[in-house]
């Protein structure tokens, strides 16, 4: 596989960028943006740019394991198949479940869904996509009759008004954000409105930011709908009158502004702009979806587009943008408990069974993610197979997920990592293929099907997920129907099912690909559905054939039985759990720019880990004062479900009354930062999507008497270290960094630190500096002339040195004499060698470098900084931060 370039698809967010991967003769992997891919046209974000960093085999799961011991594939698969069969025989098909993932390829997903629904006979297969976009699925179904995203990314560029709701596009979908910014650049009349309780990096670029009260989206869009109706806009669509009537109950603009918690002039500006702009796209994401009123929020948004007929036209549509690389593919195969298969519901069970020729078929919805784990804990589900996801971290009330898995008689986990919080709960561990080794298809947020192609060989005994599932199916007696030779076999079957007895009733139709040859599949270029076969197109009376699949519903024909779109009357409904005197704040959660999900991949990249090294909780300055929270120190956030301790970031980017914490960190990387454990398990009653954006919480200072950090060339077993009460691991290429804190101060730091580094009592090359009266201690262990570990302790975090420079000392090269003092000083003797915290991951440009360039060269724009030091000139996701540094520099 060496020496050639493989075109494949980025495994991160739902943008679905094409990438070109190559492996040179030395085995070095390089990944660049694929200029031929229509979704990204060669662009990549910081995560995509760093993909090559993440394909190493460190910490990979390479062999099956059973009950904590290495096993061969046969016995592992027998155990899975036998275990499931036994429980099904005794307790029925609903006593088992699969919990799968938007990280699976469409083919993997298809096989898993088929096995569970058609052969085991239960719909107990749900997915982590439940956690991020099931509200959009449900909202789409209510409005259109089918789960389909009407527009494409081009629409964001064409639109004169883009409204981002609950979407930190700059960080979470950076390439779409860059496309949007590039389109706005030459055209000042293109307007961007960001609706988000937080002032995100995205909000910084907006013409108008509405920092609405958490959960008030329905009130806002009802207000907009009422305003639009008030402008004389009418619609004949079903539900229009009821929706307007429901919206008008919000009262006048002033009451809406009050309910939404924004300035009335700003609100009026938004309403006026929206009313006046035909080409308007409303992009919504997890900020809308992750709510106990998620589906209603989605419909409140879609209502405004349906009323104004802004759908199915260039530059006009509601646009759900998903978080995962193949959330859409999973929706297409129907790998959710709430649909059956191929966008068909349980009312089409016979159709699906007919197609599969399966012995049985699930005829009712299965358990959705949160209920599923409740059922496991309650003992109703006795065997669970988790694939490519980490629910012990990602579910709300995540400690329950751990309890549930601990109590479950059979826990099977297919994963690529040897250790995750979930893997550590498994009875049977199955080594799956990782991104660079997998072959199949994914669908992105604009219905674009792209091939994912392997460019590295399968390591160890790892196997593709679809092969593993098919093997288990064979062992359960269903071999004939799972005798797939290749991913292409599965794809053809999937495509055929989408077209099967379709008759134009379902927008999802890949009929044109049902007979794709292996060779065509191998070279398949990115292609957007619908892709009806010519025969199907002719047969489709209600849905005429389209030459152009870019937009759906261009003809105002919808999959609803009546062929029309529906407005859905919705009433504002606050979060399920409200703040109280004991839990006065609302905990919001989300992503950071350079990490992905539970960090199994991104933590392998030093440059990604460097952007935001530690879990943090953002709090408004007023709230910080009330709760005695100090910026940069640790704070403990407590909810009725759990507790996390993170670095406090005091910032007015956060709305008063709200907290924000990232979702990524977990037990592999931090002592107490698994925010899922603190999130409430309230769900949207329609979609079952959890309310991750709103959990009542209290916050208090973590009573650390010392803070510190350790750089160690070899990993330390932090769980077992004496006296470290709090820790976060920040991975690096040649070292691990541990941010640590403690609630007791030891009498002798030298002894304590020596034990951490396992050198106590040994005659080692050791240097230290101490200032006991200040509570300062610093030490370094040098081994064979190279730096092995460095430890820094201070009473407050402000008195610890900058981390970034120290990282560069772990070169494996012998240290210079003069450097030894510098190690403990935590900075180079020559001040100009210190680059500061990383801002631009792509080019590794630090804050101080940028600051110096600004000052030295009098730079006055982000572009000028880019020209001078390259920062921000690749993926551009750090541009807001560069702008911030510019603003800071002009103030000083």
């Amino acid at each position: 596989m060496t020496g050639q370039t493989t075109r494949t698809t980025c495994p991160y967010c739902g943008v679905g960028c094409g990438v070109a991967a190559s492996v040179d003769d030395a085995g070095t992997v390089a990944v660049t943006g694929d200029e031929g891919h229509p979704s990204n046209r060669g662009r990549l974000c910081s995560k995509g740019t760093a993909l090559a960093d993440t394909v190493g085999l460190a910490d990979r799961l390479l062999h099956p394991r059973v009950d904590g011991h290495r096993a061969d594939w046969n016995s592992a698969l027998d155990r899975v198949a036998g275990g499931f069969a036994e429980i099904i025989a005794e307790h029925g098909p609903d006593a088992v479940a699969f919990y799968v993932s938007g990280q699976l390829l469409t083919e993997d997903y298809y096989v898993a869904n088929k096995l569970m629904k058609g052969y085991i006979g239960s719909a107990n297969i749900d997915t982590n996509s439940r956690l991020c976009m099931s509200s959009a699925v449900a909202g789409h179904k209510r409005a259109f009759g089918e789960d389909a995203v009407p527009g494409c990314y081009d629409d964001l560029e064409i639109a004169d008004l883009v409204v981002l709701v609950g979407s930190n596009l700059a960080w979470c979908h950076p390439v779409v954000y860059q496309r949007l910014m590039a389109a706005r650049e030459p055209d000042p009349k293109k307007t961007l409105v960001v609706i988000d309780p937080r002032r995100t990096a995205t909000a910084d670029s907006a013409d108008l930011h509405l920092p609405i009260a958490p959960g008030s989206d329905v009130a806002l869009f009802n207000g907009l709908l009422a305003y639009l109706a008030g402008q004389g806009i009418t619609s004949e669509l079903p539900g229009a009158d009821a929706a307007i009537e429901a919206a008008q109950r919000m009262g006048d603009a002033a009451s809406v502004a009050q309910a939404v918690g924004v300035d009335i002039d700003d609100l009026a500006k938004f309403f006026t702009w929206f009313a006046a702009t035909e080409r308007a796209v409303t992009v919504f994401s997890q900020g809308v979806n992750q709510s106990s009123a998620g589906t209603d929020k989605v419909n409140a948004i879609i209502n405004c587009h349906l009323l104004t007929d802004r759908i199915g036209k260039p530059g006009a549509c509601p646009f759900s943008i998903t978080g995962q690389p193949n959330a859409m593919g999973g929706r297409e195969v129907g790998g959710l408990a709430s649909t059956l298969a191929a966008h068909m519901g349980f009312d089409r069970a016979d159709t699906v069974q007919r197609f599969w020729g399966s012995p049985t078929i699930a005829r009712k919805p299965g358990l959705k993610a949160v209920e599923l784990f409740e059922a496991i804990e309650a003992g109703r589900i006795k065997a669970i197979w988790i694939m490519a996801t980490n629910p012990v971290v990602s579910l709300p009330d995540a400690d329950r997920a751990r309890r549930a898995l601990a109590a479950c008689p059979l826990v099977v986990v297919s994963d690529v990592m040897r250790h995750t919080d979930t893997v550590d709960c498994a009875d049977v561990l199955l080594p799956a293929a990782a991104w660079a080794e997998k072959s199949g298809t994914v669908t992105n947020s604009e219905r674009m099907i792209s091939r994912q192609r392997a460019f590295l060989p399968l390591p160890g005994e790892a196997r593709a997920d679809w092969r593993i599932i098919s093997e288990v199916a064979r062992r359960m007696g269903f071999g004939d129907d799972f005798a797939y030779e290749s991913a292409a076999d599965i794809f053809r079957e999937h495509a055929a099912l989408t077209a099967f007895e379709n008759n134009g009733e379902r927008v999802l139709d890949l009929g044109a690909l049902a007979s794709i040859t292996d060779a065509e599949y191998e070279t398949l270029s990115p292609i957007r559905w619908p892709l009806s076969s010519p025969e199907a197109m002719r047969a489709a009376g209600a849905m005429p054939a389209r030459a152009d699949a870019d937009r759906l519903f261009t003809d105002d024909a919808y999959p609803h039985a009546d062929g029309r779109a529906h407005l859905v009357p919705v009433a504002p409904r606050g979060p399920a759990n409200r703040p109280s005197t004991s839990r006065p704040l609302a905990l919001n959660t989300g992503r950071v720019r350079d990490h992905w999900h539970t960090m199994t991949r991104t933590a392998k990249s030093e440059r990604l880990a460097a952007h935001i090294a530690e879990p943090f909780v953002e709090i408004h300055p007023e709230d910080a004062q009330t709760h005695a929270i100090v910026d940069g120190r640790l704070a403990t956030v407590t909810t009725d479900w759990g507790q996390v301790t993170m670095r406090a970031v005091v910032t007015d980017r956060q709305r008063q009354g709200s907290l924000f914490a990232p979702i990524h960190w977990n037990r592999q990387f931090a002592s107490a930062a698994r925010v899922g454990a603190a999130a409430n398990p309230a769900v949207c009653p329609i979609a079952g999507e959890p309310e991750f954006k709103h959990t009542p919480a209290s916050i208090a200072p973590y009573e650390a008497v010392w803070y510190g950090f350790v750089y160690a060339a070899r990993p330390l077993r932090m769980q077992a270290q004496p006296g470290i009460d709090h820790w976060t691991r920040v991975p690096g290429a040649r070292f691990n960094r541990y941010e640590i804190a403690g609630i007791d101060r030891p009498g002798d730091w030298t002894d304590r630190v020596g034990r951490w580094l396992s050198v106590e009592g040994r005659d080692v090359d050791w240097l230290d500096a101490s200032d006991p009266a200040s509570g300062l201690y610093r030490a370094a262990h040098i081994d064979g002339g190279t730096l092995e570990a460095a430890v820094f302790i201070a009473p407050t975090p402000e008195r610890l040195p900058d981390r970034s420079w120290l990282a560069g000392l772990f070169t494996g090269e012998p240290m210079q004499e003069a450097e030894r003092m510098a190690v403990l000083a935590g900075r180079p003797a020559d001040a100009s060698a210190d680059t500061g915290p990383l801002v631009c991951s792509c080019f590794g440009v630090g804050r101080k470098t940028i600051r110096r360039a600004i000052e030295a060269e009098g730079l006055d724009s982000v572009e000028a900084v880019g020209r001078a030091v390259e920062a921000g000139t690749n993926c551009g996701s750090c541009k807001p931060e560069i702008a911030e540094i510019l603003a800071e520099a002009s103030k000083d």
Binding site: S770, A773, M821, R827
Partner: protein, 435 residues
Amino acid sequence: MPAYHTLRRHADRTDAVQPRLDLVVIGNGMAGLRVIEDLLELAPERYNVTVFGAEPQASYNRIMLSPVLAGDKTFDEIQSRDRAWYAQHGIALYTGESVVDIDRRRRMVISDSGREVPYDRLVLATGSTAFVIPVPGHDLDGVISFRAIGDVERMVEASARGGRAAVIGGGLLGLEAAYGLHRRGMEVTVVHLQSQLMERQLDATAAALLQHSLAQRGLSFRMGAETAAIVSDGAGRVAGLRFKDDDASTLDVDLVVMAVGIRPNIELARSAGLHCDKGIVVNDTMQTFDPRIYAVGECVEHRKAVYGLVAPLWDQARVCANHLAWRGHSQYGGSVTATQLKVTGIDMYSAGDFAEDEHTETLTFSDIRRGVYKRIVLRDGCIAGVVLYGDTADGSWYFKHMRAGTDVSWFRDALIFGRAFVDTDDHVEPNREAA
């Protein structure tokens, strides 16, 4: 004796062409010479200067005696001013001639050769004498102090015969003497009363590093040892030491160097009726109780302090010269002192007071493998004392802040790592040498 001494005694000081006054400096050591040098800069025409030096040499840098002993420098290299310089500046220099009396009524000094020189101003720079422990045998042949070039010459001569030497006193001078003798081929044992070396300048850690390092170079140590007697060979020469310990152990040696401290030379001043205590008592303008008579250097007691290092002497000389030049605005407030050991390959720096109490806070750095140790004692946010071992590059920088009384709180966390790690804009080297 030139007649103008008397003729010009009562000259009008405000006259544009002022008649010169008579200045006599007793002591041609470093302090006396520095007063003259400073004075020449400030008021070269003010005085006719006469200098008496008890040693025969013109002048030399006494603090460089150790390198001479060690053979790192020659005497020529440490000579500071030759006779031509004195002549060129019209200074009457009498070397090898001690002043035996000061007639304050007549304002006249009288030397051991009977020479009488009148003065309008008199500077006493009589220095100090090495203290000799009055143990039996202290006056034997082969018992030497380490004070003057003559002592060095005797040690060099003795070492030429090889053999064994004991240096009594593990202080700065003792260690330098021991190292010098070792370099000259003698087998040297340092005999020290305390359990650690240089206890006035070093803490236990630095002292241990120093002792380890000197031991590696070949010196032997008898720590915590008190000399009971110096044993004679029966012919009036040193044969060994006997210690005050339980078994009255002995050490056979051919040479004993006493380096246990100094005593200010105050006899002349006292006999002239000047107030003396440990030293000649002076005020902040370096004047003795007779305002015409100044005193500087190791013979002086100022605010209860007697100094044995060179840096205070520079400070004192400057103030003294300033007054003699009628500038009259400079005062001496005492000195913070710094010490460096002049042993090749050993970097050691000590300054100030590093005794700990409830008002002090201590910063340390140790890199034992590299032989580096630093200790800074803070008092009220200012540096009170510094001990540096192995890496003394920042000694003068710490010293500058210690002398300046800089509140170092704002860069305390980086202080121990040195100047290169502290973002201060003043990287100015203090213009001081340390002895």
